[in-house]
């Protein structure tokens, strides 16, 4: 009944690998790295601990990239990056961060990312599985105006949950004063770090970029706090799913646009039709039209009415007998904070009505799901 682990050689290690192993992490291959899927506490307790206290996540496999304007003027880097994303990057103030997507010529999402303004340069955090392609994409399109510098010798530690502020505050006097999406250099435990007040769990929290050589000491200092437990990728996935956040390669990819993905909240007015810098990015024609006219399909939240989790790939139908598929689940599992199964997926727009009911086909049965607003668990960001 259990699949055997496929032992994969040549997996990369993050700077925190030894900490995971020492903490009893169950290591699995993920995006080319040997990563902890869970610790002895287990996914359920790790999830609930993050929502009630604080969890420490190693996200060092993600890509960190500095985008430096050759002119020395940050606005040149911001305007250059705006050619690749539909977001207003010029308006990201120094010390602030914004969620964005790299878009291809067809309007599809190449990756989603965070963009921070560090004054002299932009600081990007991209997905692990996409980082080589993202770097090549930046070099291909922005080399005329920007130096593209992958920061390969850095770790990234996420500290998430209601006690993240107090836990980080013991090592970083500035932590409590930061607001959601503030980002910049801070001293943590007397080490120079880049700290943002952000994360991917729906909780308040921080992401801390630190030089690889100091990563282990910093992680151990944070884990020494009784409120902080190490959290694996399993709980990271259930936390982000309850928060209604997309997992790249599952809920969004090159076949989905930001409007189809219900991410139009992340596209500022200045880049839309009639805005100060309308369009001017790859895929703009399609995305601007979809912003005005709507998209043929939409990402929606789905709550199975029964207890059975409905997982990625399950086809969706309008009723129990219909043979016409109207969508599919892209992420699904069990939400420990909801104590119920939870999912998200795409539906033909005419069916994508909050409060509506659709049916997933699972093991030869049609199971009802409610189309639900997201997030499933309210956000706890410190705005």
């Amino acid at each position: 009944m259990l699949a055997r682990d496929n032992h994969q050689p040549l997996l990369k290690h993050t700077p925190l690998h030894a900490v995971h192993v020492a903490s009893g992490g169950k290591m699995v291959p993920f995006a080319g790295y040997d990563m902890p899927v869970q610790y002895p506490a287990g996914v359920l307790r790790e999830h609930l601990h993050t929502r009630s206290s604080a969890g420490l996540f190693d996200v060092s496999h993600m890509g960190q990239i500095a985008l430096r304007p050759k002119s020395g003027r940050l606005e040149d880097a911001a305007l250059a990056l705006e050619r690749l994303v539909p977001q207003d990057i010029l308006a990201v103030a120094p010390g602030r961060q914004r969620y964005a997507q790299f878009i291809n010529a067809a309007g599809g999402i190449l990756d989603d990312l965070m963009v921070a303004n560090f004054g002299s340069h932009l600081f990007l955090v991209v997905n692990a599985a996409c980082k080589a392609e993202d770097e090549a994409h930046l070099r291909a399109h922005l080399s005329d105006t920007c130096a593209i510098e992958p920061l390969v010798d850095r770790a990234l530690i996420a500290l998430q949950g209601p006690k993240a502020e107090s836990a980080l505050g013991k090592l970083c006097a500035d932590a409590a004063a930061m607001r959601f999406m503030d980002a910049g250099p801070h001293r943590v435990n007397n080490i120079d770090c880049f700290v943002s007040r952000s994360g991917y769990t729906g909780e308040d929290g921080f992401e801390i970029s630190v030089a690889a050589e100091h990563a282990e000491a910093l992680a151990k200092s944070l884990l020494a706090d009784a409120d902080v437990l190490p959290i694996g990728l399993g709980a990271r996935d259930s936390l982000r799913l309850e928060a209604g956040l997309c997992l790249y390669g599952h809920d969004i990819d090159t076949s989905t646009t930001p409007v189809e993905g219900a991410l139009e909240w992340s596209i500022q007015k200045s880049r839309r039709s009639g805005g100060a810098r309308a369009g001017g990015f790859a895929g703009a024609e399609k995305i601007l039209a979809q912003l005005e006219m709507g998209a043929p399909r939409r990402r929606v939240g789905l709550k199975p009415e029964g207890r059975a989790p409905v997982r990625e790939g399950a086809p969706l139908f309008a009723d129990i007998t219909s043979t016409e598929q109207i969508g599919a689940v892209t992420s699904g599992g069990f939400g420990p904070s909801l104590n119920a199964p939870v999912a998200m997926g795409y539906l033909t727009s005419s069916h994508a009505t909050i409060g509506g009911r659709v049916f997933a086909e699972l093991r030869g049965q049609r199971l009802p799901l409610q189309i639900s607003p997201m997030p499933f668990v309210p956000n706890a960001y410190k705005r």
């Binding site: 009944m1 399993g234 996935d237 259930s238 207890r307 989790p309 069990f334 199964p341 093991r363």
Partner: protein
């Protein structure tokens, strides 16, 4: 009463011509926190190696296969309301279903406890 095991981490408790079937403690430790169990319908006739039940953790779904052929005569309804029993008492209260054994010769291919211990060692 004899207890036998499969290489897929199920146990069978044989009493006369009835086999009570569950998953082993080793299996539950590998699965992690169980949040849902789907059981076969009473009266269903299962063939050996046929998917009989589903056990789901937060992260993944796993099939439980019929270790021998037979007719389902009883299922453990308690697992519907309390799937975490699989984690707390895999070898006892968290039995999955009972089969009326169709062919006792199929028991010959199963492991005893010592062999199963060696299998998971």
């Amino acid at each position: 009463m004899t207890t036998l095991f499969t290489s897929d981490h199920e146990w069978l408790r044989i009493e006369g011509d009835v086999a009570t079937i569950g998953v082993t403690d080793y299996a539950q430790s590998q699965l992690g926190d169980v949040v849902f169990v789907e059981l076969p319908k009473v009266g269903r006739s299962l063939k050996k190696a046929e998917a009989a039940a589903v056990v789901e953790s937060v992260k993944a779904a796993s099939d439980v296969y019929a270790p021998i052929s037979g007719e389902v005569i009883e299922v453990n309804e308690a697992l519907g309301s309390e799937p975490a029993l699989v984690n707390s008492d895999a070898a006892g209260k968290a039995w999955f279903f009972k089969l009326k054994i169709a062919d006792k010769s199929e028991l010959g291919g199963l492991m005893d406890e010592a062999a199963y211990k060696a299998h998971t060692a």
